[in-house]
């Protein structure tokens, strides 16, 4: 039987210059999957490409030849010259290691930001492409579906995805704890630094529709306003703009605080104590820390946000250990299924099942026919044994013949389903049509239709 191999590079293995090229290749319309018919040694292929990672998952008969072909494909796709030493940036996982790595990727344990949710969607896209190009068959099909259900299990059984680990994300989470839904909230951006832009982008992604920009240089303010469909106000009147907003994001280069205790206190009264959330990502700080003492005003500076993140990181690490355990467990289950795809265990399982049925039926019959002599019993035993042997003869010869070919996993899997050979270990990877996976498949089919 062939090998499952995962070859690729990610943010850990490749330096940023190489990854930049990945990002460019990521956007190219050409999908390397269409090259599969030209690859002699590669049987099935899935291609995953994100800005931080490019991975080929494939099965092949001959490990070395298949891998060489894929490396060449990668080089062409990313656009690296033949002289660039590729091997040092690559990792190659074989068989169970490949399965385990894929499960880790799917459950976001291998991501730059641990637990970030996008990767699963990207993997699903990759699978959809592979289905469209018809490059997945028995093994990768099962493996990918399993990967989706592992990711789902990790997400429901651990809280790896629920802790914010970036400054902007932490700010959004805090805002949610204060304001609930953010859709109807107003954000004021004071200064137009990069960090501010990043955080504003996060708020916009959370549904904030009303933004106002106040910046010293009007050009930059207009530029930012265009991006976030925001209004602009003159920089000097940001204190009055504060009256009507809920969240203030500040990142000016001022050396002294630009918002003082009295500025806010007097305005809070006019705001009828509506909560006001200051996010101060400037260094040195823009907002006097004393402002935090005012009722219904919350001030978070960059260190406070960093504190939130550190807390969450710790929590994520703990959750990641739990998740790793789930991944290991599922890898072993997948191994059981893989092993069952060999011809010998399949044939043994068919024989065992037939023999078990024969024994049970004989027992029932003998219990009802009490008058049988030992000779008669023996004759019935021989008769039934011969019947079973003759019925199974042709299927077994067929399976043995197929075992020499590349289509073996397909026939073994089919045979197992035909004879329902996995009924006893319902836990195994075979049990892929359970409710969890069923959901996944439904979702997937829906996305396909779209």
């Amino acid at each position: 039987m062939g090998h499952i191999v995962l070859l690729g590079m990610n943010h850990k293995s490749a330096p940023v210059e190489i990854r930049e090229q990945l990002a460019v290749a990521c956007k190219s319309a050409v999908n390397p999957l269409h090259m599969l018919p030209h690859l002699k040694d590669v049987d099935e292929l899935v291609f995953l490409s994100t800005c931080n990672r490019v991975e080929f998952l494939y099965t092949c008969g001959n490990l070395k030849d298949g891998t060489d072909e894929i490396k060449e494909l990668l080089r062409v796709h990313v656009g690296l010259s033949a002289s660039t030493p590729l091997d040092s940036y690559l990792y190659v996982y074989e068989d169970l290691d490949a399965v385990q790595h894929l499960f880790q990727v799917a459950s976001s344990l291998d991501s730059m930001v641990l637990g970030e949710p996008q990767i699963l969607g990207q993997l699903k896209d990759a699978y959809r492409d592979a289905v469209e190009f018809r490059t997945v068959k028995t093994i990768l099909n099962r493996l990918l579906h399993k990967a989706f259900s592992v990711a789902k299990r990790v997400r429901t059984e651990t809280c790896i995805g629920s802790c914010a680990v970036s400054v902007s994300y932490a700010a959004v989470e805090l805002a949610r704890k204060i304001f609930g839904e953010l859709q109807d909230k107003k954000v004021l951006l004071i200064g137009a630094g990069e960090m501010c832009e990043l955080a504003a982008g996060h708020f916009m992604a959370q549904g904030v529709r009303h933004m106002t920009v106040a910046n010293r240089t009007i050009e930059r303010a207009v530029e930012l306003a265009k991006r976030f469909r925001a209004d602009t106000v003159p920089f000097d009147s940001f204190l009055d703009a504060m009256m009507n907003v809920d969240i203030v994001l500040s990142s000016t280069g001022a050396q002294e605080p630009i918002i003082c205790y009295e500025d806010v206190r007097t305005r809070m009264r006019k705001r009828r104590s509506k909560p006001l959330f200051f996010i101060d990502i400037a260094v040195p700080r823009d907002i006097d820390p004393k402002v935090n003492q005012i009722d219904n005003v919350y001030v978070y500076d960059i260190d406070d946000l960093q504190g939130v993140i550190d807390l969450n990181r710790e929590e994520r690490r703990k959750q990641a250990q739990l998740a790793q355990h789930i991944v290991d467990e599922e890898t072993i289950k997948f191994k059981t299924w893989l092993n069952s795809l060999n011809a010998v265990p399949t044939i043994v399982a068919i024989r065992e099942k037939a023999e078990m049925i024969r024994k049970n039926e004989l027992k029932k019959t003998f219990a009802q026919l009490s008058g049988l002599s030992d000779r008669e019993k023996e004759a019935i035993e021989v008769l039934t044994g011969a019947m079973i042997k003759k019925i199974l003869h042709d299927p077994i010869v067929f399976l043995k013949k197929k075992a020499q070919r590349g289509t073996q996993p397909l026939f073994m899997d089919f045979t197992q389903q035909l004879f329902n050979l996995q009924e006893d270990n319902s836990d195994s990877a075979m049990n892929c049509d359970g409710p969890v996976n069923g959901d996944d498949e439904d979702n997937f089919l829906q996305t396909l239709k779209k």
Partner: protein, 273 residues
């Protein structure tokens, strides 16, 4: 029979409280559902106890401090069960169920001597008076719980030290707006309860105001809530409003305990009747 029902109800509330305390630490929907259901069963037994008692007395079971507090606990639990089923703010149960148990247990220490049977107490006016006041107070008790949750969550965010309840508690906005609804509904009910009280007093004693200690204290709590509602509507919501909700309900509890345990008047045992 009613005593058995009463004990079963108290036990149910107690078990539900334990369940809800476990729920604080383990976020599992099943724990919430179980606790809520046990509380519902408790409420059914409690209803039985009150009906038996009232049937025995031939009037609504309100003749002793014990009965009054038990009836109030019942109104409170039923209000909570309804609010919970409509809001799905599960964590609220962890803050409300202990209050129910406290009401049930403290009703045991209330005076039990029955006031002389009086035709005054059989009037529909009394049911209106007591019903609207109890419902108002139950809503205020919910606002009290929500206020405590608000203050806790507010403290976490303000001091930037996130205790274990931080992820479990909902947003300040949610807590504030539910409390707001409780208060905005409760205050007219309280007003109506007081007005019917005065009207009935005018009817039977020919004077709406009799300088009964409970009358004075009730008016004082009404003023507290009037300030609170004004604060919310005119000045703004937030931390002060949450404090006032906590303070207001504490005042109600003092009124009730004070009037029933220490002071004498026509609302308690002897007095004018």
């Amino acid at each position: 029979m009613e005593a058995v029902f009463f004990v079963v109800a108290t036990l149910c509330y107690l078990i539900a409280t334990v369940g809800y305390l476990v729920y604080l630490f383990r976020d599992q929907a099943s724990i919430h559902v179980a606790s809520w259901s046990i509380m519902l069963i408790g409420a059914v037994f409690h209803t039985g106890a009150i009906i038996f008692r009232s049937a025995n007395l031939g009037q609504l079971a309100l003749t002793t401090g014990q009965e009054a507090l038990s009836l109030f606990a019942w109104v409170f639990v039923v209000t909570y069960l309804i609010v919970q089923s409509r809001l799905q703010l599960r964590i609220l149960g962890s803050f409300v169920s202990p209050l129910a148990v406290i009401f049930m247990l403290s009703s045991e220490i209330m005076p039990t001597h029955i006031m002389p049977k009086s035709e005054f107490l059989k009037s529909g006016w009394v049911i209106l008076h007591v019903g609207s006041l109890f419902l108002a107070n139950a809503l205020f008790a919910l606002a009290f719980s929500l206020g405590i949750m608000y203050l806790l969550q507010e403290r976490y965010i303000k001091h930037k030290s996130f205790g274990f309840l931080y992820p479990r508690l909902p947003s300040l906005k949610t807590l504030d707006s539910i409390a707001h609804h409780c208060l905005i509904t409760g205050f007219p009910l309280m007003t109506a309860g007081l007005v019917t009280g005065f009207a009935y007093a005018a009817l039977v004693w020919h004077s709406p105001w009799n300088w009964d200690p409970k009358e004075i204290l009730s008016l004082a709590t009404w003023v507290v809530y009037a300030v609170l509602v004004h604060e919310r509507l005119a000045v703004g919501r937030g931390r002060r409003a949450a404090w006032l909700a906590v303070f207001g309900f504490t005042a109600i509890l003092l009124t009730f305990l004070g009037a029933n345990l220490i002071l004498k008047g026509h609302h308690s045992i002897s007095g004018k009747i």
